[in-house]
Amino acid sequence: MHLLPEGVSTYSGRIDQMFYIILAITGVAFVLTEAALFYFAWRYRHREGVRARYTHGNSRLEVIWTIVPAVLLVFLGLASRTVWSEIKGHIPPTDQEIVVLASQFDWEVRYKGADGQFETADDIVVHNEMHLPVNAPVKIRLRSKDVLHSFFVPAFRLKQDAVPGLTIDVWVQPTKTGEYEIACAELCGFGHGTMRGLLTVMEPEDYQKWLKEQEAGVAPAEAPAA
């Protein structure tokens, strides 16, 4: 099925699969219940001389239509939990780390630079853009300078609120090169709708080339964020 936009991370397929499973189950429930509603409305319209059926209910039906939804929902809960644990339960080991500092109304994206350390003079800092190598996991450390923001990359199916006072780690492994958009997904002020970023997934060689270009530097890195 292709009702959702293209997913280009290692877990986007799992999320989409969960979506489609839920769609299948709720879709069947939707068709059956709405069909019953409209059919009963027509079939049991008042007609001269026909009296309504006098019944207060049916205990067996109550049991059936309690247990069947409960079983289906527990199944959906357990299946979802598996996917959630795959995504949130661990961060894959990687030395690729990026710090994203959200603020009104900017995404500051910081790389370690050649020395492999954050908060040093050779940090690479860019704004409203991110570059990643394809087929490699990256850890993103989300922070906020002022209010709540939310780092949303629809193509990765990645969304995580950036909370002042916390550093929240997420990970992603892109599966396809290309240009994708970043959006803010938590109301953060009048510029909320303009916090757009561009995320470029590159072949590893191109990514290394980009890093070198940044390190050679058009401008020195900004002072590390407070």
């Binding site: 959702l4 936009p5 799992r14 999320i15 969960m18 769609l23 709720t26 429930a29 939707f30 219940t33 509603l37 009963f40 409305a41 049991y44 319209r45 008042h46 007609r47 009296r51 309504a52 059926r53 006098y54 019944t55 207060h56 209910g57 049916n58 039906l61 239509w65 939804p69 929902l73 527990v74 959906l76 809960g77 979802s80 939990r81 959630w84 995504i87 002022d146 209010v147 709540l148 939310s150 949303f152 629809p154 199916r157 969304k159 995580q160 609120d161 909370v163 002042p164 006072g165 916390l166 994708y180 959006a183 997904a185 938590e186 109301l187 002020g189 009048f190 510029g191 709708g193 757009r196």
Partner: protein, 581 residues
């Protein structure tokens, strides 16, 4: 209070209609004020939809609109949708369901002459009205209204530097505190009245589902609203007294607000749907001429929804940064709460099955409720799944869901209730042709407006953004935004039919009989409208439940609760028993 009371106590016009202690008048006061706020809230939605459908076109009549209502200005856009939602939730849906219908119906349906605390009741209306006025006054202050969503998350809402709005947000907080206080006062009254003042023979399991729903809703209001009050108090102090409840720089926690807010606001959404479910159950039974299917299951489902409603709040916070294990816990409870709602839906279908259905406007809205509630409830299952929620949180998928349950659910329930009880409230009939057209057109254009929002959400369309065309990935969805907006304008226009019918019929509607729908519950034994004290000399005695429609062995197809049985006894506890001492 008997007829003698009325003989020596004849209130002035002001005592009878303005500062009334009569539950029926207070209910009507809540109804009129809430309907007025609905017009305002609906208009604000039209502004939002103009901007989203046509972001590059200036809104028509721009020079007539207040300068603060320009949805093309990003800051004002945030204010407009904040006030749209805040008004609809706090000043329309909650007051109509609990303040208007709760007040009007509870004493009548249980056979009481009034509420347990008439003065407290009057106070709850006036406190609520002051609260609504405080919220509305924020349109007129420097900096304008709150701009942080009806959810008011700090730090955005805790410090004016982040929005440029100072007094407006503070007024919002104070106004909501007052409206919440009115809710709590009302809840105390309803619980006390239902527990203590039922007429002889009105056992708990003979009460209409409207009363059960209002009773359990009142318990929700009593227990949840104080938590909102505490959160609002903390936010107010952060803003005005220099505290740091939500400010990490001062040792506070940003997420604390979300936990406290949603601890109330999740039960609040059940406050907003349960009464509507109760009304729909009673209306479906009446116009199918059949008992409600599974009465006890329906009662226990209401209790289940209310109880579980206290342990699901974290599903609003799956992506908030709280511990993912908490996410799993809240996901399980959220999946479970779908079960009692499913049970209710099947029982509504069971009520229609085998019926002799009369398609009055009330019945059409009640059936529309079931249809849209099915969609709203099923769409909730997607967001209950924590991994799927990673994608659809804060997108239009959520906006679709909430409007299906709050508009398709609560508001259609309100339309059904108004159509059903208008004759009892005002002694006049609404024009059924106009309201049939209103019901059908509203259902059609509601679906055309809100169903496509699921598709926007599936495309990743974020909430609360003023110009989707700034994003490449959203450009292909823009024609759908236009489509939605056009249907929204038509939907808004159709409501004029209802408003005109409502007002016109107050003065020129056909006079209503005592029981125009041939219904069984006690309010239909009182006059239309009932006098002060509701019944004459004697309060009714109840002999059976309210769902005895089409019992065998009778020519008529209804048997009111207070009519002594003629001939064969009816099953269960409905055999004629003497009134309890």
């Amino acid at each position: 209070m008997s007829a003698q009371h009325d003989a020596h106590h004849s209130p002035s016009f002001v005592g009878k209609y303005i500062f009334s202690q009569d539950h029926k008048i207070i209910g009507i006061q809540f109804l009129f004020v809430s309907l007025a706020f609905m017009i305002l809230g609906g208009f604000l939605a039209m502004l939002v939809r103009w901007q989203l459908g046509f972001p590059d076109r200036e809104i028509p009549l721009a020079n007539v609109l207040p300068t603060a209502w320009n949805p093309a200005d990003p800051a004002q856009y945030n204010q407009i949708f904040t006030m749209h939602a805040s008004i609809m939730i706090f000043l329309v849906i909650i007051p109509i369901l609990t303040g208007a219908f709760g007040n009007f119906l509870v004493p009548l349906m249980i056979g009481a002459r009034d509420m347990a605390f008439p003065k407290l009741n009057m106070l709850s209306f006036w406190v609520g009205l002051v609260g609504g006025s405080v919220i509305a006054s924020s349109f007129f202050v420097e900096g304008g209204t709150a701009a942080t969503g009806w959810t008011a998350y700090p730090p955005l809402s805790a410090d004016p530097q982040y929005t440029g709005v100072a007094l407006g947000q503070t007024l919002w907080i104070v106004g909501v505190l007052l409206v919440g206080t009115a809710s709590i006062m009302g809840a105390v009254n309803y619980i006390t009245t239902i527990v203590n003042m039922r007429a002889p023979g009105m056992y708990f399991f003979r009460m209409p589902l409207s009363v059960w729903a209002l009773f359990i809703t009142a318990i929700l209001q009593l227990m949840a609203t104080p938590v909102l009050a505490s959160a609002l108090g903390m936010l107010l102090f952060d803003r005005t007294l220099g505290t740091h409840f939500f400010n990490p720089a001062g040792g506070g926690q940003v997420l604390l607000w979300q936990h406290l807010f949603w601890f109330y606001s999740h039960p609040a959404v059940y406050i907003m749907i349960l009464p509507a479910m109760g009304f729909v159950s009673d209306i479906l039974s009446t116009f199918s001429r059949k008992p409600i299917f599974g009465y006890k299951a329906m009662v226990f489902s209401i209790m289940g929804i209310a109880g579980l409603g206290f342990i699901v709040w974290g599903h609003h916070m799956f992506q908030s940064g709280m511990n993912p294990s908490l996410g799993t816990a809240f996901m399980i409870s959220t999946m479970v709460i779908a079960v009692p709602s499913a049970i209710k839906t099947f029982n509504w279908l069971g009520t229609l099955w085998g019926g002799a259905i009369r398609f009055t406007p009330a019945m059409l809205h009640a059936m529309a409720f079931v249809s849209t509630f099915i969609i709203g409830g099923l769409s909730g299952i997607f967001m209950a799944s924590t991994p799927v929620d990673m994608f659809i949180h804060d997108t239009y998928f959520i906006v679709a869901h909430l409007h299906y349950v709050l508009f398709g659910g609560s508001l259609f329930g309100v339309f059904a209730a108004i159509n059903f009880w208008y004759p009892k409230m005002f002694g006049r009939m609404l024009n059924p042709t106009i309201n049939t057209i209103h019901a059908v057109l509203t259902f059609i254009f509601f679906n055309l407006t809100f169903f496509p929002m699921h598709i926007l959400g599936m495309g990743g369309h974020m909430r609360r953004i003023y110009d989707p065309t700034l994003y490449e990935f959203l450009k292909p969805l823009q024609p759908m935004n236009e489509f939605i907006s056009i249907n929204a304008f038509i939907l808004g226009g159709v409501q004029i039919l209802f408003a005109a019918n409502f007002i016109f019929s107050l003065f020129w509607g056909k006079k209503a009989e005592r029981n125009p729908w041939h219904a069984n519950s006690l309010e239909w034994s009182a006059a239309s409208p009932p006098p002060h004290g509701n019944w004459g000399e004697k309060v009714p005695t109840v002999y059976r439940g309210p769902f005895e429609y089409s019992p065998p062995g009778m020519t008529e197809d209804y048997l009111p609760q207070d009519r002594p049985a003629v001939g064969a006894p009816t099953p269960g506890r409905t055999v004629m028993t003497p009134a309890r001492p």
